[in-house]
Amino acid sequence: MKNSFNRRSFLKTSALASGGMLIGFNLFNACKSDVKLPVDLSQLNYKDFNAYIKISPEGKVTIYSVNPEIGQGVKTSMPMIIAEELDVDWDDVYVVQAPLDIENYSGQVAGGSQSIRRSWQPLRETGATAKQMLINAAAAQWDVDVNTCSAKMGIISNANGETLGYGDVVEAAALLDVPEEVSLKDPKDFTIIGQGKGNVDIDKITTGKPLFGLDYKEEGMVYASVLRPPAFGQVLESFDASEAKDLLGVIDVITIGKKARALLKAGKPNWSVKLSTTDKVVVIGKTTWDVIKGKKAIKAKWKTDSALESSEEHNEKLLSLVNGKKFRTRRKDGNVNKAFANADKVLERVYESTFLPHNTMEPMNFFANVTPEKVHLVGPTQTPEAAANAVASLLGRPIEEVHVDLTRMGGGFGRRLYNDYVMEVAEISEAIKKPVKMLSTREDDMTTGVYRPASTYKISAAIKDGKLTGYHLKEACVNSNMYGLIPNFFPAGAIENYQVDSARLKSNITVGAWRAPYTNFLASAEQSFFDELAEELQVDRVQLHMDLLENVKRNPNPKIDYSPERLQGVLKMVVEKSDWGNVADGVYQGLSVYYCHNTHVAEVADVTMENGVPVVKKVTCAIDCGIVVNPLGAMNQAKGGVLDGIGHAMYADFSFKDGVPSANNFNSYQLIRMGQTPKVDVHFIESNIAPTGLGEPTLPPVGAAVANAIYKATGKRLTKLPYIKNMNSKTEIVG
């Protein structure tokens, strides 16, 4: 495949002073025309390029990758793509997490499952360009026609049977012009892509080496723990720190909050999450335990500053919003009002979900060292650029003085998109003039979070002469609404009269993205609704979907965001792989098909009833995510998403009472445990299409697959999360 993308614009090469060749490239945009590559590795900057490849005179390849790793495996899959096109032995490839030098830097975000999709083409072209330059250098050295030369596994050969290793020609290659045109491999010739490659950090993880933010230390570093209001709606009134200060390991007790308030007052943009206006009490100590103990010894008084809200009221208000008339219309095809007026029958259901905490296994934490010269920040964030900008504004420092180094992240799920904790630690370090690590306890994390917003959906279908003629989706959601693409997901385009409306409930509870935002519950609602609709229409559940997708194929609609063919593909596959309809007595199956984050997924849950409690025995999952770059990583992601989805749909019980969260640790909040997990059987559609993400898409559909199976087992339709609680089953926390 010839490709004449203008490589000069996003890639540059140089010879390293220490020997070897350096390639700098940009994944998402062109580099400026006047930028120069450094000739010394200590000078690597991420202003002009967001990644580098070094090829050493020994032929070893080091990739300096900037994308943060949150468990999605991009630290492995991105280098795989480069190595594939560069054509080197995977064992000769090393990956280094690059530090971030923030000026002019953009595009580094781990979220939205977009990393792979956006970088696929530039990564391939970079690898292929480097390979071509090495071949060109070898051809020049041999003085033969470059077209008679080829390269494989790090060795270049010519028609005379001569060979040169990449390392032998790197110096010469580095001085050549970047070719305008390179060949990309035919996907059927891939040798690395499509092969399961283990996590590049596996040895460090299995032997407990320092990797995570929590593990980072510096000489002279102290620890900090932050006391925040126990309820949303409260602010600090006064506090007594005398007991805390008497503790041996406590160095000081301070307050922070002024800087954040000043930012808010100045009307600065909100990069992360609504900054809270309260003062916070910060205990500084010699060790983590000192500050945890110190914090417990603080006697604080809180005063009410705004409403102390409760979930019961939220739920009532959300319900009245979906039943009301004030909406923002997000999409409108045909005329739903007319369809409903003319209908013989209307099916209408309301689905309700709760707030959810993220509960990343590694709690929020960050390191800061604020000095007159620079601001050094180290830790786990999904949005380092936003973190640097926020801190620069907060402290009134030029962005050039702010440096962020990323660590591996113990989970993200959206929580680390928000840099409230980075801003806190920066304010603390500036105040105490010391390097400091701020860490949250589980209680801090669960009770002062950025929650998945509670939301309510009302779905109505108009039925005329046994046919579906109208579909109306109404959303009411706390502090936010579904993002703009969602109204273009299925069933948009499949039904003539189709409308999506949103309403918003204002609240002082902070909300934000949570793994597969909005779709994580919308899919449960919609796919439960379709199950009921099939029954109402007396058509087969699979057939209903197939027919609706057929409609889309017959009447192509440019304003849809999914592929009807690919949805049909995963549906067919899951029917076959799950033995749909052919299971043993006492096993009940539920189906769900969903598209989000550019990936098409169908799932079937097999459920049995044990003592009146549903037990998910198996989930079959068919996925079309284009080319599967790393099947091992992809499998992990897919299974994790399914189990996470089951856990949260079945058990996650979280609410507020007078502003106070109902749970604060794992003894009062059920995260799914091994004993509650089914086997997940994952199948990928074979494909030559560019890859799409897997961090999120398997999660949304599974709730409905389980609910639909439980309906078959019990005759009860579940419309409210968490399912187990709302079945009136036993709900004690399993630990």
């Binding site: 950090d201 296994m361 591996r408 113990g410 989970g411 640790n665 086997k679 997940v680």
Partner: protein
């Protein structure tokens, strides 16, 4: 502040700490063994699991004063070269996602297999039920424990 002599990974460490300090924080902050992780601090998640006299224990619940005189093994000392059968199985199956919980998972699994080298699937699920993996890598953990048991027995 009192001092304590701790035997960790076959080495003796003398540390100064408040008597009520959980072993977890002594390991992480004083001895620089950061492989043992903090997840909940109340014995619910298993991220902080270490071996104490060969048994899997939650280091967030064990006070340093109680740990004196005991043989403590952390993930760093489970094997010299990271080749304990459980570590090998973890690599073979490529278990970790974010990886944060995995040291605790490995420590629970290795102590369990020591007791029960030939477990049934149900035994494995019971033994591992105390360790939370927020990334839900449970299918792979189950497989890896099974694989390790085959290597051990």
């Amino acid at each position: 502040m009192p001092t304590f002599n701790l035997k960790i990974n076959d080495k003796t460490h003398t540390v100064e700490a408040d008597a009520d300090t959980p072993l977890l924080w002594v390991l992480r902050d004083k001895i620089n063994l950061v492989g043992t992780k903090f997840g909940c601090g109340i014995g619910q998640c298993g991220a902080c699991t270490v071996h104490v006299d060969g048994n899997a224990m939650r280091s967030c619940l064990l006070q340093v004063s109680q740990a004196e005189g005991m043989e403590i093994t952390t993930i760093e000392g489970l094997s010299e070269h990271g080749t304990h059968p459980v570590q090998e199985a973890w690599k073979a199956i490529d278990v970790p996602q974010c990886g944060y919980c995995q040291a605790g998972q490995i420590m629970t699994a290795s102590a369990f297999l020591n007791e029960n080298p030939n477990p049934s699937n149900e035994d494995i699920r019971n033994a591992m039920n105390g360790n939370i993996c927020r990334c839900a890598s449970y299918n792979s953990i189950e497989e890896a424990v099974k694989l390790a048991s085959k290597k051990i027995s």
